[in-house]
C-alpha cells in the first residue's frame, strides 16, 4: 500500500517537474548506465591486468628459484665428480654455477623485495648457499692440495675418507634444497592464490558486464517509456492550449458581439428619447403660448439624453480599446502638427471659459507610431479637464517637448484649483470624481482620465500627474518616439494608402469630422 502510495507521489512529483528537467533525466538514465558499465569494465580490466602481471611475476620467481637449485645441484655434482675423478673438466659446471648463483640470488632478491616473508626466506637461502659454496670451495681446495702433492697421490684414498668427504656438506645442501623448495612452494601458493583471484575477477567482470547490460537495457527502455509519456503529455498540453485558444476566441467574439449589441441596444432607446424630446421642442416653437416650464423640462430631457449618450460612447470606447494596440492600426504621426491642431481647436473653448491657452512645440518634428484619433481623444480629455477646473483668468500651458531615451513628452499644465494629494492615486479610476458635486455641475462623467490613461497605455506610453491644491495641475504624457524600422514600416503603409482610391481618404476624413461633431 505504502509503496503504491510512494509510487504515486513520485509520479506526481515527476509530472510537476519542468519539461527541460524531465528531458535531461530521461537522457541521463541510459547515459549513466553506459558510463557505469564502462567504468566497472575498465576497473575490472585493470585489476585483471594487474593479476596477470602478478602471475607472470610469480612464475618468474619460481623459474629463478628452480634455476638456483639447479645451479647448486650442478655445483655439487661437479664437486663430487671432481672429487672422484680429479679431472678439471668436471669443474666446468661448478665454475658456471659460481657466476650463476649470486646473479640468480640477486635477481630473486629484486623480485621478492615487496614480499618481506619471502625476502626473509631468501636471506636464509642466501646464507645457506654461501655456506654450501664455502664447503664446495674447501672440498675442491682439499682435492687440489692432494693432487698437488704427488707424493701423497700414491696413497690410496680410503673408502671411508671418501665417504666422509662426500658426506661433508650434505646436510647443508639438503637444508638449502629444502629451503629453496619451501620458497618455491610459498611462491606456488601465491601463484594459486593469484590465479584464483584472477578467475574470481574474471567471473565478476562477466557478471558485472551482464548486470550493466541488463540495467542499461532497462534504463533505455524506461527512458523510452518516459519519453513516450512526455510526448503524450506534450500532445495533451497542445490540445489543451488549442482548446483554450478556441474558447478564448469564442469569448472574444462574444465580447465583440456584446459590445456591438450593447451599442445598438443602448443607443436605440436613447435615440428615440432624444428625437422625441427634440421634436416636442420643435412643436412648442410653433405653439405661441407654450408654457415655459414644459420647454425647460424638454430641454433637460435633451441634455440628459445627450449626456447619457456620451457615457455610453465612453464606456464602449473603454471596452473596445483594452490592451495594447495592434501594429496594423498604428501610423506614423507627427506630434507637432497634432499638438498645434489641438491647440487651435481648443483656443475658442478656453476663451469661452475666459482662459488663456498657450502652446509651444519644438522646431524639429517628433514622430510617434499611434492611432491618431485615439491619441487626439486622450489629449482632448486632458484639455477639457484643464478648461473645466481652471477659474477664469487662468492660463493653460499645452507643450510638446522631446526627452531623453527616445521619448516625447506632452504637458497639459493649468493654473486651476488643483487636486488634493489623497485623490491622486484614484484619479485614473473609472467614475472617480474628486468632488462629485463640482464635477457633475461642470458636466464631467468621471471617465475622461480613465480613457486618456487607457489610450496612452495602449500606445506603450505613460501618463502621470503633479498637482498642488490652489496652484494648479500638470498632466504629463510620455510616449515612445517611433523607431527607425517603424518609420520604414509606416512609409510603406503611407504608400499603400496614397495608392488606394481617393474615396477612402475622403471617407476617413468625413468620418473623423462627423465623429468629432457627434462628440460635441
Amino acid at each position: 500500500m505504502t509503496q503504491l502510495h510512494t509510487a504515486k507521489r513520485l509520479k506526481h512529483y515527476w509530472q510537476t517537474l519542468p519539461i527541460r528537467v524531465r528531458g535531461t533525466l530521461i537522457i541521463a538514465i541510459p547515459v549513466a548506465c553506459l558510463f557505469s558499465a564502462l567504468a566497472a569494465f575498465a576497473w575490472l580490466k585493470a585489476s585483471l591486468v594487474e593479476d596477470e602481471i602478478w602471475v607472470q611475476h610469480t612464475q618468474v620467481v619460481r623459474l629463478e628459484a628452480k634455476r638456483l637449485l639447479n645451479a647448486l645441484v650442478d655445483a655439487e655434482t661437479a664437486v663430487r665428480g671432481y672429487g672422484l675423478t680429479h679431472r678439471p673438466e668436471f669443474l666446468e659446471p661448478y665454475d658456471i654455477s659460481q657466476t650463476v648463483i649470486p646473479a640468480s640470488l640477486n635477481r630473486l632478491e629484486d623480485l621478492v623485495s615487496d614480499n618481506p616473508q619471502q625476502s626473509l626466506r631468501l636471506q636464509d637461502i642466501r646464507t645457506l648457499t654461501q655456506k654450501n659454496l664455502v664447503i664446495f670451495q674447501r672440498k675442491i681446495a682439499l682435492k687440489q692440495e692432494a693432487s698437488d702433492r704427488p707424493e701423497q697421490s700414491e696413497v690410496p684414498i680410503t673408502a671411508a675418507s671418501l665417504y666422509d668427504w662426500l658426506d661433508e656438506g650434505k646436510a647443508t645442501m639438503n637444508e638449502v634444497r629444502w629451503k629453496i623448495d619451501a620458497f618455491a612452494e610459498a611462491e606456488e601458493a601465491l601463484l594459486i592464490k593469484r590465479i584464483r583471484h584472477k578467475d574470481l575477477y574474471q567471473q565478476i567482470t562477466w557478471i558485472a558486464l551482464c548486470i550493466a547490460g541488463l540495467v542499461g537495457t532497462l534504463g533505455a527502455a524506461f527512458a523510452v517509456h518516459l519519453f513516450y509519456q512526455l510526448e503524450r503529455e506534450l500532445v495533451d498540453r497542445e490540445n489543451n492550449l488549442r482548446q483554450t485558444n478556441q474558447r478564448l476566441e469564442v469569448v472574444c467574439d462574444q465580447l465583440q458581439r456584446f459590445t456591438a449589441n450593447a451599442s445598438h441596444e443602448l443607443r436605440a432607446p436613447l435615440a428615440a428619447v432624444l428625437s422625441n424630446a427634440q421634436v416636442g421642442l420643435m412643436d412648442l416653437e410653433d405653439w405661441d403660448s407654450a408654457p415655459l416650464p414644459l420647454r425647460k423640462k424638454l430641454t433637460k430631457i435633451v441634455d440628459l439624453t445627450k449626456r447619457m449618450s456620451r457615457l455610453v460612447s465612453d464606456l464602449l470606447f473603454l471596452a473596445r480599446h483594452e490592451g495594447l494596440l495592434a501594429s496594423e492600426n498604428l501610423r506614423r504621426v507627427e506630434l507637432n502638427g497634432l499638438v498645434r491642431g489641438l491647440a487651435d481647436d481648443w483656443k475658442l473653448e478656453a476663451e469661452a471659459h475666459q482662459l488663456k491657452l498657450d502652446s509651444q512645440q519644438p522646431d524639429t518634428s517628433i514622430f510617434v507610431s499611434a492611432d491618431v484619433n485615439l491619441l487626439r481623444q486622450a489629449i482632448a480629455n486632458l484639455l477639457s479637464n484643464a478648461c473645466r477646473y481652471t477659474p477664469p483668468g487662468g492660463t493653460i500651458h499645452f507643450n510638446l517637448m522631446p526627452s531623453q531615451n527616445q521619448q516625447a513628452i506632452i504637458l497639459v499644465q493649468d493654473t486651476g484649483i488643483g487636486i488634493p494629494s489623497e485623490a491622486i492615486p484614484h484619479l485614473f479610476e473609472r467614475f472617480y470624481r474628486v468632488d462629485p458635486k463640482r464635477s457633475k455641475a461642470s458636466g464631467g462623467l468621471g471617465l475622461g482620465l480613465a480613457i486618456a490613461q487607457q489610450v496612452i497605455q495602449a500606445h506603450r506610453g505613460q501618463i502621470c500627474v503633479h498637482s498642488s491644491v490652489g496652484e494648479g495641475t500638470t498632466f504629463q504624457i510620455t510616449l515612445p518616439v517611433a523607431t527607425i524600422d517603424l518609420q520604414f514600416d509606416s512609409a510603406s503603409i503611407d504608400e499603400t494608402i496614397s495608392l488606394s482610391p481617393p474615396v477612402t481618404l475622403d471617407a476617413a476624413s468625413t468620418v473623423g469630422h462627423s465623429s468629432s461633431i457627434n462628440r460635441i
Binding site: S263, H264, L270, A272, S275, V279, A507, S514, S515
Partner: protein, 225 residues
Amino acid sequence: MRILLVEDDPDQREPLHEALVHVGHVVDAAADGTTASWLIDEKDYDLLIFDWMLPGDDGIVLCQRYRQAGKAAPVLMLTAKDTISDKVAGLDAGADDYLVKPVDIDELLARVRALRRRSPLWHGDTLTLSNLSLNLDTMQIHRGETTLKLASRDFQLLEYMMRHPNQILTRDQIEQALWEWGDEPESNAVASRIKRLRQKLREVEANHWIETVYGTGYRLAPPSI
C-alpha cells in the same frame, strides 16, 4: 424635397419623420428593407436616410443596390454602429454621410440641408418666380416688403408648383408628388390644400397666381405684366 426614411424602430422613426415633415419635406417612412427596396424602384427621391440594421435587406445592401441602379441622390446612413470600420464600410457602400445614433435633430436637419446643396438638381436656397421668392430653408415667402412663413403643407405645395411654373399640374401629379406613401388622399384633398395655399398667398396678394384649369388641374403663373 422628397425623402425616403428607413428605420425599423417606430419610436425613433416617428419623431424623425415628424421633424423632417415639419421643415417642409415630403417623407416616405418605411420600417423594413423589403418595403424600402420596393419604394426605391417605384419612386424618385431627393434624399434617402437608411438605418443599418433592418429586417429584410439591411441599410448597406439598400445603399449598394441604389448606387448600382445608377441613381445619384444623396444617401445618409443613420445607425448605432459607431466604429471607424463601420463608418468606412458605410461610406464605401455609397453613402454620402454617416451619423451615429443618438443624433441631435438639429444636426440631422443641418446635414439634410447640406446634402441637398450637394445634389445635382440644386439651384440655390431660394426659388424665385417673377417677384415672388420662396426660401427653402426658412419656408418663408417674400414679395416686395412682405415676408411670410408658410406651414409645412403649404410650403410643400408651393415648392412643387414653383418648381414647375406655368405648367398644368393634374390632381394626380400633385397627389403623387405631395402625398406620402400609404397616406391615401381623399377625393377633394388636393382642392382643399389649393384653397388653403390661396388663402396664405392672399397675404402677399398673390392668391390669383394659382389658376384652376377646369377638369384637369392647376397652374401657377405670375400675371403677365
